[in-house]
Symmetry: C2
Subunit: 196 residues, 2 copies
DNA sequence: TTGAACTCCTAACAACCGTTAGTTTTATTA
DNA sequence: TAATAAAACTAACGGTTGTTAGGAGTTCAA
């Protein structure tokens, strides 16, 4: 009999969520079927329901776990007592790191969170907005203290957050620079600009 | 009898493609059904097939028309004899303009082009890569001439292209700055950086 | 005024969807 | 080893999917 092999000491549910992240990343949430997923897990579709409640629960799991991860990071950064430009740099470095090492999840969340149903949809949407607001506050404080250029803070935030999502292309590129170089280049561009 | 009303002098097919762009933008290609689309067009689903060949043809239409638009723009910019930092600025301004005024199409293309089937998928993928390569060449020439900071050009390009896609959030935001201010802020950040 | 070309309609197809029911096999524990 | 729980299986459900067939109403040129 086929048995779900849980590598390491991961729960079978965790294994399913992990495979789902990869599948959703490749095909998108709506275009991924439970039979697709079951095949990758090595099991019949119906068997998945011994471990999860629904397809959407997988998406919820993915979205809210990622959100928690980001929230914990900004919690720590807010607590820090360092120059605000350095806080911004740390936020960027975290986003870049996530995009390099956890990009499947990040991309699924960014692309497919809209397929959550209520009340999760509203819930997630609020969390997202709150997160952006916290970053905006940091940028604004940086401007007030003269550490950051006098720009529209919300615009700066949306650029920061979206710029790093370009790393997706980096993953696919053939001759790619090292992750470290990538990180430094992105920071250089965002903090110092393209022009000389 | 219900009749497809083609406003202005648009073909009925063009009307359908336009409605499809909006629908795909809202729900994603895979989650959009032909019955959804038919309802928005004001017609039964089967009737759509008097004007189009398949659901995917709609996506093809949307993707390749957009690609052509971008290609024409960079054709013109390459022909220009101006400083390379200015060429980069013009590319950015074009992308920003598209994202502000044609964002539904742009977002659909960016998110759903992977749902094209062969040979369109490979075709589109190549066009996309070629387009990025042309921008990279401009950035590299800018670096060589000392107009642009000495950065990894492909990294710069992926940041440029993705940063502007953050404008999506701007559309949804409540108290938004003017489109002109948005454009100037984005250019300021990308060309001069966040830091002071 | 006839006939061809269009474009709409209803009805239906086969395939696939997420999910449930009921059963059998495997793993755990006593 | 026997009893119980966990997790797999097969089969099928009701619904939706993209698309086609065939017919009826409309438009327009001859």
């Amino acid at each position: 009999m086929a048995k779900i092999k849980s590598s390491k000491n991961a729960t079978k549910k965790e294994t399913i969520v992990e495979k789902a992240s990869k599948l959703f990343f490749e095909k998108g949430f709506s275009a991924s079927s439970m039979r697709d997923l079951a095949e990758r897990v090595g099991v019949e579709a119906a068997s998945l329901y011994n471990h999860i409640r629904s397809k959407e629960e997988l998406l919820q799991e993915i979205c809210f776990k990622a959100a928690q991860h980001y929230t914990e990071n900004i919690d720590a950064i807010e607590r820090e007592d360092s120059p605000f430009i350095q806080k911004i740099e740390k936020i960027l470095r975290f986003h870049i790191d996530q995009m390099i090492n956890n990009y499947e999840v990040v991309q699924v969340v960014d692309r497919d969170w809209k397929h959550l149903s209520e009340p999760y949809l509203t819930n997630y949407h609020n969390e997202r907005r709150a997160y952006r607001k916290r970053i905006t506050a940091i940028v604004e404080e940086g401007i007030r203290r003269g550490e950051v250029k006098d720009i529209d803070a919300p615009t700066a935030v949306l650029i920061m957050l979206h710029a790093v999502s370009g790393i997706e292309s980096w993953h696919r590129s053939v001759q790619k620079i090292s992750a470290k170089d990538l990180e430094e280049n992105i920071l250089l561009i965002l903090l110092r600009g393209l022009g000389k």
